[in-house]
């Protein structure tokens, strides 16, 4: 039975939301999970490739297999959920009262909750965000759209493909197109290094002889009704296209794999503070934002490359919500800011108390070999042969280690060259 008052409402039923709802239910919270689409599962449902769950289930699963494991778990625990229910807005009434307005097939509902766990994922960057000029004919898709068409509905969107962006999503889609018999003419990458994991460059591009153009940009799309070609140019060190180097690649389809951005508009309207580097919220070690009782996990928090971390964040947010409910708010603590040192682009969470175990998720700014990742305040170090922006660095610190830094005013994380 749908009720109007909850301990917690989870918004978005991807892996983060499902994991949060399961954990919240296990902890005895009265919780409901709300999903926009007519299917639970979020992104993994459309990912037919392996590479999911190596940490969480200790097995290499496809995205689809992974998400069905979570569904089965959810079923055991008996989580209540809504489908085809779009969360339209959130109202902040008091620290322990929020209203969630949901458009459902049965009309608009206003549900009340003491805490929110926001797991609405990320959106894909579109053409206008990456400075591609020219025509706007048919045949331009984001990688996620192409993936849904091919891997859920069995429709191949084109025959001659140019992929913009070499992140893992672009690489994986290049392989899917090649496997289905489409010709992938090129993958174009702005930076001088590939955006995705090297293993994906090998298995997805080299295996199928797909050319990767590093330090190149698509400057223009040309086509009347359907895409006919793209214009590509080399870029200089400031990433500006060099006019004299322009050349054309004929194609009928452009697939944009230019990155994901946390989907936060709804929270920004009620005063959420965001980190300009993650584009996600600023959070404490419970993944609570600056809005009391609002927790964020998964790709809405930080763009994750591994679903295992997404699930871990969902569970942590649920534990945070429980702690909030027990104490009528997260108690005031002597929060220490987490500071970015050398070659760190971002780190989440942003504040820690030092009184419990913490998991940090960080990305580096540029690739580097033979380094030591350190947190000097607690004397923690880890030798790494390679750090790359494509691979999130995950560091778990125990309370015991953090105890040693109880007088420190901050906690910093940095990458140092190893001698």
């Amino acid at each position: 039975m749908l009720e109007l008052n909850y301990d917690g409402i989870v918004i978005g039923a991807g892996p983060a939301g499902i994991a949060a709802a399961i954990r919240a239910k296990e902890l005895g919270l009265k919780v409901v999970l709300i999903e926009n689409r007519d299917l639970l599962g979020g992104i993994p449902l459309q990912c037919v490739h392996p590479g999911f769950g190596l940490h969480y289930f200790r097995e290499d699963l496809t995205g689809t297999e992974f998400i069905y494991r979570l569904f089965d778990k959810m079923d055991k625990v008996g989580v209540e959920y809504l489908l085809k229910s779009h969360v339209h807005s959130i109202e902040f009434i008091a620290h322990n009262e929020k209203i969630v307005n949901v458009i459902t097939p049965k009309g608009v509902l206003s549900l009340k909750a003491k805490t929110l766990i926001y797991t609405a994922g990320a959106r894909e960057r579109h053409m206008f965000e990456i400075n591609i000029a020219g025509d706007r004919p048919a045949g331009i898709y984001t990688a996620g759209e192409a993936q849904i068409l091919m891997d859920m509905y069995g429709i191949i969107p084109g025959k001659e493909i140019v992929i913009v962006g070499s992140g893992d999503i672009g690489l994986i889609m290049a392989r899917r197109f090649a496997l289905e018999g489409a010709k992938v003419k090129a993958v174009i990458e702005l930076m001088y290094y590939p955006g995705g994991l090297i293993r994906n460059v090998v298995q997805c591009l080299q295996d199928y002889n797909i050319p990767l153009y590093l330090s190149h940009a698509v400057t223009r799309v040309v086509g009347k009704k359907r895409v006919e070609k793209v214009v590509v140019a080399k870029v200089d060190e400031k990433l500006r296209p060099i006019k004299e180097t322009e050349f054309e690649i004929p194609c009928d389809t452009v697939v944009l794999a230019a990155g994901l951005i946390p989907n936060l508009d709804m929270l920004e309207k009620i005063g959420l503070l965001a980190d300009p580097y993650t584009r996600g919220p600023i959070v404490n070690e419970f993944l609570e934002t600056n809005i009391p009782g609002v927790f964020v996990a998964g790709n809405a928090l930080v763009i994750n490359d591994l679903v295992d971390y997404v699930v871990e964040q969902g569970e942590l947010a649920a534990e945070g919500a429980r702690y909030f409910l027990e104490n009528d708010g997260i108690p005031t603590m002597d929060w220490k800011p987490v500071v970015k040192g050398r070659n760190i682009r971002f780190v989440v969470p942003h504040y820690v108390s030092g009184r419990r175990d913490v998991t940090f998720y960080a990305r580096v700014q540029y690739p580097e070999k033979n380094v030591i990742v350190t947190i000097p305040e607690v004397g923690w170090r880890m030798k790494m042969f390679n750090v790359r922006p494509a691979e999130m660095v995950r560091v778990k610190l125990s309370k015991r280690l953090l105890d040693g830094a109880s007088s420190a005013e901050k906690i910093s994380i940095e990458v140092a060259p190893s001698e």
Binding site: D151, Y153, L179, V202
Partner: protein, 127 residues
């Protein structure tokens, strides 16, 4: 003596492996941080294999396709044969995860990796 550089795809460390063919014919692998990399490099040179993934048409289900994968990695040269086979069949819903979709092709099975429920309503997204 032949030399070849490979990147290990077993784990994200992505070690660069150098495979040298000794005069005796045996292979020597350098650069691997763990034995799995050595194993990978030798196989990659002699008999490269991959798990193949695709989707297969389904009629009467809540989705018009089911995703599939090979139960084990197959020799790379078998990939076209498997893709041809998956493109030419059609299943009836329901389909369960792990269900064998094609038995014994190139020495492996093709198995379903998504669940497709049977529905009576007709899905109008024509393939």
């Amino acid at each position: 003596m032949n030399e070849e550089d490979l990147i290990c795809i077993i784990c994200p460390t992505s070690c660069t492996l150098r495979v040298c063919k000794e005069l005796s014919g045996s292979l020597r692998v350098e650069g691997a941080l763990c034995p799995k990399g050595v194993e990978y490099a030798i196989r990659e040179v002699n008999d490269p294999r991959r798990v193949v993934i695709s989707v297969v048409k389904v009629v009467g289900g809540d989705l018009p396709t089911v995703s599939v994968k090979t139960s084990k990695p197959v020799p790379k040269k078998c990939i076209p044969e498997i893709m041809k086979a998956t493109a030419s069949i059609e299943l009836k819903a329901p389909v369960e995860i792990g269900q064998v979709v094609i038995r014994d092709i190139c020495g492996v099975d093709v198995i379903a990796t998504r669940r497709v429920k049977k529905v009576n309503s007709i899905y109008l997204f024509k393939l």
